[in-house]
């Protein structure tokens, strides 16, 4: 049976582990890992786990199909909308988390026209987070992370053939095999792919890999179970750090090389990065920062043997994982007239794509990792997020807007959220930690690896990151929504030993002067609205 846990919601209560201890496990205080495809004999236990989840984060494939959220179809405005709801043809490019979510939401909101989902991979939509975690340690199968299908919804799948072009005038998607698929409205959700090791010959060596697809994860799992003498992880971002964590779990020696000063610095800044560095070293990772890999070398049979680093050292390794970030899948949109580039596809806060002139293109929507959208809370700067939670939330808004007219459309105002499970620690973030000039430990103990850090920009709170303290984060999310002052000036339980703000040490980003301060209210996507305010402390 298929299981997926929305770890953006999960707060580590562990009720699922009590109910189904062979399927769900807690590492450390609250880091949840689980089997995405447990044996059918576990069904009753897993159903109980799902019922017991205090935040209702566990989604299962239903056998009986008797449940599923039902919404009464919204009353259509005007003849066109009504006809579109009934007979319009929607095409979704990207058989992804965002793509399948959008399809589900459209059906639940009463859209009955034909719905086609195009995907370049041969798989039905699957869940990626387990591929760099549970799959590598053997708790889940690489090909077992297919997303549960809660509702039977009528979709035409076109899988295994990538989209190759988009004709906005003729309103059709061209596939790589030459076929054309017409649409009335289009959702672009083609996401990302892993950035490969840049030297093609070296990347082709046996033992050099990336982690993005189930095939990647299966290959890396095979390499890890063969007990390699040493694994080299190139890049200490989240994926690289999770791979290193899996190696240590399996007692495989691992060296992590990153050209930055500390792990996770690009996402969380150097202060928290230093905490991550200590954590890695305590778990036996050979962490080398401020160093680059200059060459990967193989033997006569094409097997990886060693790596040469920029500090002159040479490492004997038989596996190298390139965790160098990602490339957006936009090539198929070249020449389409949409504003698509290395940054993704630009859209408005309602997920409507923009053309190269910056004008909203009618009938084309964008969601998920490929979308680049303005966020009012962050001074209307365009964000491009590679987060599971954003893919879901943005797809819901895009889907709603694809079948709604004018003022009934929703803005995508969810605060960005993400998590990483590594070294028995749950790292969770809300807001945009790189949108900061200062950071402060707000609660807890850094030494004990149980703390919340708050990030601030020009006197207001913009993000919070928790290590094993995720139950406090929704409080900080509320502060971000309210544009509350930074640093937080109120007393809390579990005060930190040093509560002084320090420089955020995040990567530079161009920041215009004259900040827009916005307050966001509302819980559901249908309720969330922004309001511009001026604050005396700015």
């Amino acid at each position: 049976m298929k299981v997926v846990v929305d770890l953006t919601r999960c707060q580590g209560y562990a009720q699922c582990v009590f109910a189904a201890p062979d399927v769900f496990t807690i590492r450390g205080d609250e880091a949840l890992l689980y089997d995405s495809d447990p044996d059918e004999r576990q069904r009753e236990r897993v159903e109980r786990a799902a019922a017991a989840c205090p935040v209702q984060a566990i989604v299962l494939e239903r056998q009986d199909g008797r449940r599923g959220q039902r919404h009464s179809p919204q009353p259509a405005i005007g003849d066109f909308e009504e006809a579109f709801m009934r007979n319009g043809h929607v095409v979704i490019v990207g058989a992804s988390l965002a793509g399948v979510r959008a399809a589900l939401v459209m059906r639940r909101q009463g859209f009955t026209g034909p719905l086609t989902v195009i995907g370049d991979e041969p798989h039905l939509p699957y869940d990626r987070p387990p591929l760099s975690k549970q799959v590598l340690i053997g708790q889940a199968r690489a090909l077992g992370t297919e997303l549960p299908r809660r509702d039977e919804f009528d979709v035409t799948w076109r899988l295994g053939v990538p989209a190759a072009g988009l004709d906005l005038i003729g309103k059709q998607v061209e596939l790589a095999d030459g076929q054309k698929v017409g649409f009335d409205r289009l959702l672009i959700a083609t996401g990302l792919r892993a950035r490969p090791w840049p030297n093609e010959a070296e990347a082709a060596l046996d033992g050099v890999c990336t982690v993005r697809t189930p095939e990647d994860a299966a290959a890396l799992r095979r390499l890890l179970t063969a007990k390699p003498d040493r694994v080299l992880v190139i890049g200490a971002g989240f994926t690289g750090s999770e791979v290193a964590s899996a190696c240590r779990d399996l007692d495989v020696p691992v060296t992590v090389v990153d050209r930055g000063p500390v792990p996770l610095a690009g996402a969380l800044g150097a202060l928290i990065g230093r905490v991550a560095a200590r954590m890695q070293r305590e778990h036996g990772v050979d962490l080398r920062c401020g160093v680059q890999v200059e060459a990967l070398e193989g033997d006569g049979s094409g097997r990886l043997r060693r790596a040469r680093l920029s500090d002159g050292s040479v490492l004997d390794v038989d596996v190298a994982v390139a965790a160098l970030g990602s490339i957006r899948n936009v090539e198929w949109l070249e020449g389409s007239g949409l504003a698509a580039g290395a940054w993704g596809v630009t859209c408005d806060a309602g997920c409507r794509a923009m053309d190269v002139n910056g004008v909203v293109a009618d009938d084309v929507f964008v969601a998920g990792d490929i979308a680049r959208f303005p966020h009012p809370v962050y001074n209307y700067q365009y964000l491009a997020l590679e987060h599971w939670g954003n893919a879901i939330a943005q797809a819901e808004v895009a889907a709603h807007n694809m079948i709604s007219a004018g003022s009934r459309r929703w803005p995508h105002l969810r605060l960005p959220e993400f998590w990483s499970t590594q070294f028995d620690t749950e790292i969770k973030s809300v807001g945009v930690p790189t949108y900061a000039d200062q950071v402060v430990i707000a609660q807890g103990s850094v030494a004990g690896r149980r703390f919340v850090a708050a990030y601030g920009y020009q006197g207001r709170i913009t993000a919070a990151v928790a290590f094993n303290q995720s139950r406090w984060l929704e409080f900080y999310a509320e502060l971000i929504d309210r544009a509350a002052p930074f640093p937080p000036s109120f007393p809390t339980v579990d005060p930190p030993s040093d509560g002084h703000p320090v420089a955020a040490e995040v990567p530079d980003r161009p920041t215009p002067t004259g900040q827009a301060t916005v307050v966001v209210t509302g819980h559901k996507p249908s309720e969330r609205r922004a309001r511009l305010v001026s604050r005396p402390y700015l």
């Binding site: 209560y13 562990a14 009590f18 201890p21 009753e44 449940r67 609660q443 149980r450």
Partner: protein, 433 residues
């Protein structure tokens, strides 16, 4: 009616059988200031926000009027115990809770509760077997079922002699009474509770002394004394304090969940029938979750948390130092969040009830209470022949916060024999060796 009047009525015993219309009135003032300066919060989103608000402390020593009485106990008072874990804040709270969890659940003992399921079924089977043999008969399902079942379980978990029940039941009753906001002011109730807890601690001290020469068992108490190896174990006084809490919580709450459950099922025979038919494997779990929303055993967190800073919520400022009371049962029926909240509907999607609270103080015993209630209700539904409620509403226990029937008289035509293990749903849930 003004908010304070509604609150007084909720506490008044005459409204115990159905406080929900009053909770609806209470929600009209989401954050209500009481005459004694404490605040009652009754709407779902505000309760959830406060459960996750680090400006709210659970350590009563932070309350100004309680702090004033600490250390002023007279000479004849029993030696006080340190606060148990639910009356502390992090990091002390988190450390004690980790130590308690070490022998109870994940990460160290993830299968402990799952492994107890056959034993839970055996206890339930025995209790129901005892109703049999007389054809049509009248049974008090509180005295003969809902109470003895969880007491037996908690006694086994703590390795407390079952025959001591009359003794610790009286002590526990004093703790529950001290929790009842209708009985006295906050500081006075705190004093009474500490006295009762100290007496229970004394009971455990005697128990541990008597066990000293035995090899340590797998019970939670022995585990607490041993510690978990990774951290400093609790002091003996902390073990006594937390043991007292576990005993009280383990046998004063699940009894109400089970009794409220039987009552609710008898009032909703269509759900009882579905449970009896037994062809929906996840139904019992969903019934229990819906009970926790619809008729929760803990209605009000009446031992106040307290604001360590001014807290602005729902347009009201709760000033620093104020006690804060969370009306969980009112929140779980808040129509702003829960569709059709006054309907008992086990098929409800997305049941994010407040029955076990939330945040870092989420009910420690929840993973045990769930299978206890599930097995108890499943077996009663299957085995009782033609059960009929004698009094509706039944007489209630005094407390408005830990609310449930004092007695639940049910007429039955007989008792079906227990299903043989090979046919029982629990049987194929036994963990494979």
């Amino acid at each position: 009616m003004a908010g304070n009047g509604v609150w007084r009525q909720i506490l008044d015993y005459s409204h115990r059988a159905d406080p929900y219309p009053l909770f609806a009135q209470l929600r009209e003032t989401p954050v209500l200031r009481l005459e004694d300066g404490s605040y009652v919060v009754s709407t779902y989103r505000e309760i959830v926000a406060l459960l996750h608000d680090p400006r709210l402390s659970s350590d009563v020593r932070n309350l100004p009027d309680v702090a004033a009485t600490v250390g002023s106990t007279s000479d004849d008072a029993p030696p006080g115990l340190p606060p148990n874990f639910i009356r502390t804040d992090p990091p002390e709270h988190d450390r004690m809770r980790r130590l308690l969890t070490w022998n109870f659940g994940p990460p160290h003992r993830p299968g402990r509760i799952d492994g107890m399921l056959p034993e839970l079924l055996e206890i339930v089977t025995g209790l129901i077997d005892d109703f049999a043999g007389m054809g049509t008969t009248r049974v008090d399902l509180v005295d003969r079922f809902a109470y003895p079942f969880p007491v037996t379980v908690i006694c086994r978990l703590l390795d407390v002699p079952r025959e001591d029940e009359p003794r610790f039941h009286a002590l526990s009753g004093a703790v529950i009474e001290a929790n009842n906001p209708a009985t006295a002011g906050i500081a006075e109730r705190q004093r009474r509770r500490e006295k009762a807890m100290a007496d229970l601690g004394q009971y455990f001290a005697t128990l541990l002394d008597a066990r000293r020469d035995r090899p340590a068992g797998d019970d939670l108490l022995s585990g607490l004394l041993r510690g978990d190896g990774a951290e400093e174990p609790m002091t003996r006084e902390q073990v006594l304090s937390n043991a007292a809490l576990l005993l009280v919580a383990g046998h004063e709450t699940t009894v109400n969940l089970i009794a409220n459950g039987i009552l609710t099922l008898l009032r909703h025979p269509e759900v009882l029938d579905r449970l009896r038919r037994g062809n929906e494997p996840d139904l019992a779990a969903r019934v229990v979750e819906e009970l926790l929303r619809y008729e929760p055993p803990v209605q009000i967190l009446s031992t106040p948390r307290n604001a360590v800073a001014d807290i602005e919520i729902a347009g009201t400022i709760i000033p620093k130092g104020s006690p804060v009371i969370l009306a969980l049962a009112a929140g779980s029926r808040d129509p702003a969040v829960v569709p059709d909240p006054d309907r008992f509907d086990p098929d409800r999607e997305h049941n994010e009830h407040l029955g076990f609270g939330g945040g870092i103080h989420y009910c420690f015993g929840a993973p045990l209470a769930r299978p206890e209630a599930r097995i108890a209700l499943t077996e009663l539904a299957y085995r009782l022949e033609n059960p009929r409620l004698v009094d509706d509403p039944p007489p209630y226990r005094a407390s408005p916060s830990l609310r449930g029937p004092r007695h639940l008289l049910v007429d039955i035509d007989g008792v079906e024999p227990a299903r043989p293990p090979s046919e029982h749903p629990i049987a194929h849930l036994r963990r494979l060796p």
